[in-house]
């Protein structure tokens, strides 16, 4: 006991502890980081270098050359992972066209190879979520009924009951998910872009994420009742009742009434 206590109070102990901790961190990083990056995108050193050039030309004016971000302008991208890049650039949200309440989706500015190169470079800056595998996002493997339950508990309050979209505060909004690809849905859940919270794998398991994708994919079958009027609820139905239904009928009253007299 004495020996241990004496060693604990040794002058070199703090230094040794710090060194041990550093070794542990670099060791873990050496094992974990490259595997996350290589697993999904199989990025080569060339890709990373090409990504860096693309980044410097297209993203660095806001995010900075080292991707550390600028206060009040753009966030740091260290550790956001390849998934975040694939989502943001792959849906056209980035590069952002103008500052506003949030970056809207717009025509994509890069091809998939360039997006992968950008993702590879950003992923090389620090460990983060990887681009999902095709199997992880395959709607055919998901359970749409469970997806409905997960979706309405976690997603519907912003995106609407089947993902038709909805408003948030101060001009922000939850976009419609009806045209979003399974990969992007998965990545959005994983990385929480803009106002969206992160749904990590402890929160919604990868299987449940795939169920959500299956539920949203099911919506592409269309509404069994006919045209869906935007799937945004009773407001559009009410508007239609006044404009189309009452409108057509009043037009016919005028037609019926115009005959005699």
């Amino acid at each position: 006991m004495h020996a241990i206590a004496r060693r604990r109070h040794h002058r070199a102990a703090p230094l040794l502890l710090v060194l041990a901790l550093l070794a542990l961190i670099t060791g873990v990083a050496a094992v974990a980081a490259p595997s996350a990056a290589t697993a999904s995108t199989e990025a080569s050193a060339d890709d990373v270098a090409a990504g860096e050039r693309l980044f410097a030309a297209n993203c660095a004016s806001c995010h900075g050359l080292d991707a550390q971000g600028q206060d009040g302008v753009a966030p740091s991208l260290v550790g956001v992972g390849a998934a975040a890049v694939d989502f943001q650039v792959g849906t056209g949200r980035m590069p952002m066209q103008a500052s506003g309440p949030q970056a809207p989706a717009k025509p994509v500015q890069f091809d998939q190879d360039e997006i992968n190169q950008l993702a590879a470079w950003v992923a090389s800056l620090g460990a983060g979520p990887a681009i999902p595998t095709p199997e992880q996002v395959d709607p055919a493997l998901g359970d749409a009924a469970n997806g409905m339950l997960v979706f309405r508990t976690n997603c519907a309050m912003c995106h609407g009951s089947i993902g038709g979209g909805g408003a948030l505060t101060q001009g922000k909004f939850a976009p419609s998910l009806l045209e979003t690809t399974p990969e992007h849905i998965y990545e959005a859940m994983l990385t929480g872009p803009q106002s969206m919270p992160v749904f990590n794998d402890a929160n919604i398991t990868p299987e449940h994420k795939r169920d959500v994708i299956a539920y949203l994919d099911f919506q592409s079958n269309g509404s069994p009742g006919g045209l869906s009027l935007g799937a945004i609820g009773p407001v559009s139905e009410g508007l239609w009742a006044w404009l189309i239904l009452l409108g057509l009928i009043i037009a016919s009253t005028i037609w019926v009434g115009a005959r005699s007299s």
């Binding site: 309440p101 359970d143 749409a144 009924a145 997806g147 409905m148 339950l149 309405r152 508990t153 519907a156 309050m157 912003c158 995106h159 609407g160 009951s161 038709g164 979209g165 909805g166 408003a167 948030l168 505060t169 101060q170 001009g171 909004f173 939850a174 539920y215 099911f218 509404s223 069994p224 009742g225 006919g226 045209l227 869906s228 009027l229 799937a231 945004i232 609820g233 009773p234 407001v235 559009s236 139905e237 009410g238 508007l239 239609w240 009742a241 006044w242 189309i244 239904l245 009452l246 057509l248 009928i249 009043i250 016919s252 009253t253 005028i254 019926v256 009434g257 115009a258 005699s260 007299s261």
Partner: protein
């Protein structure tokens, strides 16, 4: 063949008549006259959509199970497989996906419900703006008003029956509104739901209300409403030969029986068309009710939106310092719910219900009024109507504020702040603008009657003067513009009588006088026969000359034009 059929029909009619003496009634009703105008068919739309509701509703009751017993879904709809739900929701899904034609009938029922209330409100607006509620029709206005309220009750109870997330959230809001009523609120809520919300009683209770109580009352009141229409005779739009003592129109048989009978099928057909093309209330999207999830776009059907809008408009604190939720002796008093959801709609509906009497006090008019007003000739009433519509529309838009924000890329918060001010500013502004427009139109009418139509023909006299030729109005046009009720503010007896003693009822009279001044202080007098005579005289001495010259020059122009045309052809 034809004569055989005729004699068979006559024989049957005779058989029935000899046993019921119905012939007299048939003759009476068949000869009843009705004036013709498209706007008189708005009430008919409401009636026919109600018939469509009854027909489709009978179909739906055959499959709906009003029970909150929990089951697990085993039907064909993929996203509901194995999901726990009430029998009410399961049977709605079954009606939609397993009963042949079930979904179409459900959609017909729901679209017809939206149309029913839209038609009722449009019909009410027509009656309001034309003054068709005046004596002797005040009571029928009240009957119609009650029908509107019953329509809201029928709609809301039906909206809640499928027990999906959307309807459950609607019920939750109603529960909150009821609980905000001081002292008795929580007791009423417990009584309604048979205990703590949501319980297992509410669906069966709403079902009875929806298929028995409310439609029964609606049917009875429709009968009364139509009986009173027959009794009072129909109103007519102003025009030559139409007075408060006659009805100018066509007999019910054969013209209106054919028109109305055909019109029923037009209404039914358009509802069916819309129901077969457009989805309504897709409960399979919302899923079975569970008190925890609320999805974006959770709104009531449009006719309840104004309550939702009032709730969304109401701040919890005034200017961030004055709280609207009080705690008194351990009890909570939620002004922030009570004002928008109970007090404001209460006052709004009370004004609508009592309006005929309000206006009768202002006019002091005791006579029967069967000729309708043109809205411009009663500027204050028209202004009040437009102000109330704008108030209502603001609440409806605010009730859909998230949809509006999303559609137009606006800030949800800004919309709410805009309408928090707008609800106080826009209706008075709408009143003032409408009144000014009405007065302007009346002045234009005066101008027209006195000076005639502009013809666009300019005549130049020999001495260089230019004159525009006016064509005098024909008799019908003049009638329409001069023969309206010209109310003046009430004159009342003085406060003190001859003996210097305060008169009984003076305060009430003074109230009526103030009301009357509000209505009729500012008005445009219709052209009197003397003025018309004078104007015509003036025009004749001056205008006949004008017209003759104009005609001459017109002919000259025509011949020149023909020559030009001929030249072009060659």
């Amino acid at each position: 063949m034809g004569t055989k059929l005729n004699s068979a029909a006559a024989g049957t009619a005779n058989y029935v008549d000899e046993r019921t003496s119905i012939g007299g009634f048939v003759k009476f009703f068949a000869r009843k006259l009705f004036p013709d105008h498209w706007s008189f068919m708005l009430g008919e739309i409401a009636l026919y959509s109600f018939i469509v509701l009854l027909l489709s509703g009978v179909f739906l009751t055959a499959f709906f199970v009003p029970s909150m017993t929990e089951v697990h879904y085993e039907g064909p709809f993929e996203t509901m497989h194995g999901v726990a739900m009430t029998e009410a929701f399961a049977s709605t899904l079954k009606t939609s996906f397993e009963v042949p034609g079930g979904l179409l009938i459900r959609q017909i029922h729901h679209w017809a419900a939206l149309l029913f209330l839209a038609a009722i409100m449009t019909h009410m607006c027509r009656v309001f703006f034309t003054g068709a509620f005046r004596k002797p029709r005040e009571l029928n206005w009240l009957v119609g008003f009650t029908l509107m309220i019953l329509g809201l009750a029928a709609g809301f109870s039906g909206y809640s029956l499928p027990d999906d997330v959307l309807s459950g959230n609607g019920l939750r809001i109603i529960d909150g509104v009821v609980k905000s009523i001081p002292l008795i609120g929580s007791y009423i809520s417990y009584w309604m739901f048979g205990g703590e919300y949501p319980g297992v009683d509410i669906i069966p209770r709403l079902f009875t209300m929806h298929i028995l109580l409310v439609p029964g009352l609606i049917l009875a009141l429709i009968a009364l409403h139509l009986f009173l229409v027959f009794l009072h005779k129909h109103t007519q739009y102003p025009g030559g030969g139409k007075s408060h003592k006659n009805v100018v129109g066509l007999p019910l048989f054969p013209v209106y029986t054919a028109k109305a009978g055909g019109f029923f099928f037009v209404v039914f057909g358009i509802i069916a068309l819309v129901a077969s093309v457009f989805t309504i209330n897709p409960v399979w999207n919302y899923g079975p009710y569970d008190p925890s999830p609320v999805s974006a776009g959770t709104q009531p059907d449009w006719y309840i939106l104004f309550v939702d809008g009032a709730l969304r408009l109401m701040p919890g604190w005034i200017a961030g310092v004055f709280p609207l939720e009080w705690e008194l002796w351990g009890y909570t008093l939620s002004w922030n719910i009570l004002i928008p959801a109970v007090i404001v709609p209460g006052i709004f509906f009370a004004i609508i219900a009592l309006y005929p009497w309000l206006e009768a006090w202002a006019t002091g008019d005791k006579g029967e009024r069967h000729v309708l007003d043109r809205p411009r000739n009663v500027p204050v009433r028209t202004g009040i109507g437009v102000a109330m519509i704008s108030f209502y529309v603001i609440l409806v838009i605010e009730g859909s504020n998230d949809i509006v924000a999303n559609l137009f890329h606006l800030s949800l918060n800004d919309i709410t702040i805009f309408f928090q001010w707008g609800i106080f500013i826009i209706p008075p502004l709408a009143f003032w603008i409408t009144k000014r427009i009405c007065l302007g139109l009346q002045r234009k009418d005066r101008e027209l009657v006195l000076h005639g139509h502009e013809t666009g023909t300019i005549v130049r006299y020999d001495h260089g003067e230019y004159v525009e030729v006016h064509r005098p109005l024909d008799e019908q046009e003049v009638w329409l513009r001069v023969s309206y009720d010209n109310h003046k503010p009430l004159e009342i007896e003085p406060e003190l009588n001859d003996h210097g003693v305060a008169r009984k009822g003076y305060r009430w009279d003074r109230f009526k006088q103030r009301l009357s001044r509000f209505y009729f202080e500012e008005r445009v007098e219709p052209v009197t026969p003397e003025e018309l005579e004078e104007a015509r005289h003036h025009h004749d001495s001056h205008g006949a000359h004008e017209a003759a010259e104009a005609e001459e020059s017109g002919e000259r122009l025509d011949s020149e034009w023909e020559e030009l045309e001929d030249g072009a052809k060659r």
